[in-house]
């Protein structure tokens, strides 16, 4: 078994009185890609956003149980949410670049971190763009507006922006669902490369995508974790009938 990066134990999540996650327990391995699959509304995004406490901004939420990143309880007292989010980066379903230049988008996380040195910023920006496989396409126009990029480029820019602050974990919520097949393939290749240095958790509705990029797959339904195993096992030889029905498309 690989080294564990994120440990989840009996995790419950409530929007007000509505309980949407029920006693989730799983171990997410370090430097691997873990896919979260399941029908719409089953709580994948809620779970993902619980790991970096993005749900905190929604009024009336409540959690129970534990999520440990590197053995530290992210809901424990005394945890600094800001530094947690620097270590656990996130890429959203719809690309959301700031209305700034390409350069400033990538530099943003470093600037709010207090980095002023122009040379270090330059280096970090091009290194991050390179890791996100975008550098070649934009290196001549770093000062152009990020909004002028194509959808797929914008999404890779958002990945570069997340990588710039040097997180260890990258959470991705359907990062390719709004993209065409070629842009999607680029993102998938990128995810595959990134796992050398990052622990990646990715939500996807695309079964082939989960099968292609992930090492482990968790199948959620109605707020419960139905099955969690090696991706190969989940797709070739699932032990729960529900899982098999879902991945073979017998229900949606």
């Amino acid at each position: 078994m690989d080294e564990v990066k994120i440990t989840v134990r009996d995790f419950d999540f409530y929007y007000g009185t509505n309980k949407v996650l029920h006693a989730i327990s799983l171990d997410i391995p370090k430097n691997r890609v873990t896919a979260l699959i399941g029908p719409s509304g089953c709580g994948k995004s809620t779970f993902l956003r619980s790991i970096n406490r993005m749900n905190d901004i929604i009024p009336g939420i409540r959690v129970d149980g534990k999520i440990l990143v590197d053995d530290v309880d992210v809901y424990g007292s005394g945890i600094d949410v800001v530094s947690l989010r620097r270590r656990v980066g996130m890429v959203f379903q719809k690309s959301n670049p700031f209305p700034k230049s390409i350069y400033e988008n990538v530099a943003y996380g470093l600037r709010i971190n207090g980095l002023r040195d122009k040379r270090k910023l330059d280096e970090a920006v091009s290194r991050s763009l390179d890791r996100a496989a975008l550098l070649d396409e934009v290196k001549d126009r770093l000062n152009a507006s990020a909004l002028a990029l194509s959808g797929g480029q914008q999404q890779r820019l958002c990945i570069a922006r997340a990588l710039a602050v040097d997180p260890d974990v990258l959470l991705m919520d359907e990062p390719a669902s709004a993209l065409d097949p070629i842009a999607t393939q680029k993102i998938e290749e990128l995810v595959f490369d990134l796992k050398k240095n990052y622990t990646i958790v990715i939500v996807t509705h695309n079964m082939q995508q989960a099968a292609r990029v992930s090492d482990r797959t968790a199948f959620f339904m109605l707020g419960k974790l139905v099955e969690y195993d090696d991706t190969r096992t989940i797709f070739m030889n699932p032990s729960v009938k529900l899982t098999e029905d879902y991945i073979t498309g017998r229900f949606g």
Binding site: R85, N96, F98, P99, Y108, N113, V165
Partner: protein
């Protein structure tokens, strides 16, 4: 263009179109009437009307400069005071206050806009002016040498006018700014937060996203301040002079029209007053047009 057009659609288009045209004609008509009714003054003083500072009905010498100055200066002071407060209120209501408080708070700020101008004026005379006078009396001698603070401490004057205008402008500016902030996608704030931004840094991202719209909101406030009449008339001192001093009693375009219109005995006097109205009309149109363009651009983006 829809392919199928029912007669109802056509009636709707014609009806609303007619209203739109009517409004445009109305505005153009106002411009034409103001020009016609001030033609004597326009002929006699030409463009110099904008830059002369004499205002002497007895000798028939008229210049609009002190009034233009007073209007712009008081509006600028109002803007400097109101913009940060209005922005603060908008940020608090939209980004910080608990959900339950949002409705009542927005309602309360908008209630301020419903208070009639004359009531603000009375409040100005009985509450604001005495306070401003006390503050002016406290000003040390060295401060009174600064051009902003020269002259006797009267209470009535530019400072009181600016403050009262600010109070009147805040509701409009803050409610437009609030709408702009509400239009900023949540994903922008989330993007910042996910990168380890603090709450304030995320708010700054939202402000940056709505930048032009917020400038528009401030300009709308400016448009309101420029045309405000009653309350300002009651506290500004009504003295046509061009002075940088906040303590000095001055005058505005709207105030001079309101005060002197019924006394304007000869035709040239009347035409000069109406020409001031024309100048005010033009300045307000330009400011409002600019602010609309800015706010619309953001709402679309």
């Amino acid at each position: 263009m829809p392919i199928i057009k029912t007669s109802e659609d056509r009636a709707l288009r014609l009806g609303t179109g007619a209203f739109a045209v009517f409004v445009v004609l109305l505005v153009a008509g106002i411009g034409v009437v103001l020009t016609q009714q001030s033609v004597l003054s326009i002929r006699k003083f030409g463009l110099a009307f904008w830059t002369r500072s004499t205002w002497n009905p007895v000798s028939g010498e008229f210049g609009a400069l002190p009034f233009i100055w007073g209007t712009l200066y008081s509006s600028l002071i109002a803007l400097l005071i109101a913009a940060p407060i209005a922005l603060g209120i908008a940020i608090f209501i939209n980004e910080i206050s608990p959900l339950k408080l949002r409705q009542p708070l927005s309602y309360l700020t908008e209630l301020l806009a419903a208070i009639p101008s004359i009531v603000y004026g009375l409040w100005g005379i009985f509450v604001l002016v005495p306070i401003v006078r006390k503050l002016e009396l406290l000003a040390p001698e060295w401060l009174k040498k600064v051009p902003l603070f020269t002259g006797p401490p009267l209470g009535v004057g530019m400072l009181s006018a600016g403050v009262i205008l600010a109070v009147m402008v805040v509701p409009l500016t803050s409610s437009v700014a609030r709408e702009i902030l509400r239009g900023v996608p949540m994903t922008q704030r989330e993007a910042a937060l996910a990168l380890g931004a603090t709450r304030w840094e995320a708010i700054r991202i939202a402000l940056g996203y709505g930048r032009t719209g917020i400038i528009g909101a401030v300009m709308l406030g400016l448009g309101r301040a420029l045309g405000e009449t009653m309350a300002v008339t009651m506290v500004i001192g009504n003295n046509p002079q061009v002075s940088t001093s906040l303590f000095a009693p001055q005058y505005t375009m709207a105030a001079v029209i309101a005060n002197e219109f019924t006394e304007a005995a000869d035709e040239l006097y009347l035409h000069a007053l109406i020409e001031i109205g024309l100048v005010l009309f033009l300045i307000t149109i330009v400011v409002n047009a600019l602010s609309r363009i800015l706010t619309r651009r953001v709402v679309r983006a």
